[in-house]
Amino acid sequence: MNHRHNRSGLTRRQLIKGIGAASLLPLVGSAPFAIGGQSAGRVVVVGGGFGGATAAKYLKRANPAIEVLLIEPNETFYTCPFSNLHLGGLREMDAIAHGYDELKDRYGVRVIHAMVEDVDADAHKVTLSTGRKLDYDRLVLSPGIDMRWNALEGYDEEAAEKAPHAWKAGTQTELLRSQLEAMDDGGTFVMVAPENPFRCPPGPYERASLVANYLAQHKPKSKVLILDAKDNFSKQGLFTAGWERLYGDRIEWVGLSSDGRVTRVDADRLEVETEFGTVHRADVLNVIPPQKAGWIAERAGVTDDSGWVPVKAETFESRQVADIYVVGDATVAAPMPKSGFCANGQAKVVAAAIAASLESRPAPEAYWTNTCYSLVGPEYGISVAGVYRVQDGVIAEVEGAGGLSPADASDATRALEAEYAVGWYNAICQDTWGTSPGSRAT
């Protein structure tokens, strides 16, 4: 929705090129690694982010004879991880952009740039925005998040053009960056942070950090105000200590108990009102609203009343609809956070489970790890890690493992973690799309 190449922007020729001759004639001129055109089953993957692109690649790694179709509307994917660096003026959009060439050329994934408009779980069919219907043996949904428009009074799609969420990377990120650049010195950047659960729990606080870093250098009289719907947030102690250390009192955080919960947004006036009636005026207003699973999950019938997707812990198959697997931010996977790292890891478990089920083998046991790096400053990194297994049928953190960077870490360690954050970004993007920033063919 906030991307450069939406479906109406595609010409018919581009669409046909995108669909490719191979997918129009399934058995002739098939994918490079299919063995003799004999398919081991067909898997349709919806969504080309960390979850979907990884699932497609690892399905092909598990068994090249599985026919894998990846449906993603955009030809270029902008990652939310490191989009805060763009907001802080530390990274160009091109350096968070990734494409699908490796999945197509090296792994033989058929990539179709379209939207999925319907899922018929009984018939095992999806309908694309092009009108085309695709059969599947197994379906993987990696739809990410959608905003709950109007959950905050006055905050809808139109309001987001004035008070960007920038919680899906792309044009929203660029809009917020341009507003920040245009802001007068002495202005206040107000961020509205949501209650749990939401995409990327430490994300708002990393964003506040990198905005403060930019302001300190370019608009030194300016401030950051975070109005938060909760009393605790991810890596709170580490962020708070880092803020004091690097930015003094430039960042002010107001939690739920101090009337931090915003209930109404006036995007025209750049004003927000809290639960107890305090009105805050912003010069730049960043509203990160409450969220839910991406729309197609609801359409497929895999969401529950919470708006998120309950899954079987061992395989991430939907608890509600057979043969549909769901990965990433859309799922209820706590204690795993909604992170790109977790989506990438969940996708590998799903790929292995599907490859096994297509051969009527039992799925391997699931293993997951997560490391979330956050940059408090360009050379000040912090992290939280976790290792997860299935225990008594639910996802559980392995006791004694994981945890936060030490509170008393040296400057050298913070600098090292900032370096590793970049190393992580390059690695996970290579693992997901095969492209590291700068190496992308355009």
Binding site: R61, G345, A352, Y367, V387, A401, V422
Partner: protein, 117 residues
């Protein structure tokens, strides 16, 4: 292993003493499909199959005993210059760490012809 590193072999020796009797006990093994899943999280920072080089080191193709002793040290000892691997290694059994070490050691860094048929 063909290449034996003094420090690594020392650690391995101390391990042999603590886990008795290792020689008599069959090492727990895992299927390839299981290892692929177990190793999945490694790729998220070290690149697919642990091949990527950068601030996060390459792990593919390094000797199994070196990798195993490093991983076991991360888990059991106070290691200097570690940021996150101590927190990760504690989530795996010793047998899993040794299996992961053998898995990455067996990857040929010079032959990147994935996917295999």
């Amino acid at each position: 292993m063909k290449r034996v590193f003094p420090i690594a072999s020392l650690t391995l020796a101390s391990l042999l003493l603590t886990i008795t009797p290792l020689a008599a006990q069959a090492e727990e093994t895992f299927s390839d499909a299981q290892l692929e899943v177990m190793a999945g999280g490694c790729a998220s920072c070290h690149g697919t199959d642990g091949r990527l080089a950068g601030s996060v080191p390459t792990i593919a193709g390094r000797p199994a005993d070196v990798l195993a002793s490093r991983l076991l040290d991360f888990k059991h000892k106070e290691v200097d210059e570690v940021t996150v691997m101590d927190r990760i290694a504690k989530g795996f059994t010793d047998a899993e760490l040794r299996a992961l070490a053998r898995h990455f050691a067996a990857i040929d860094l010079n032959n990147d012809n994935e996917p295999e048929e």
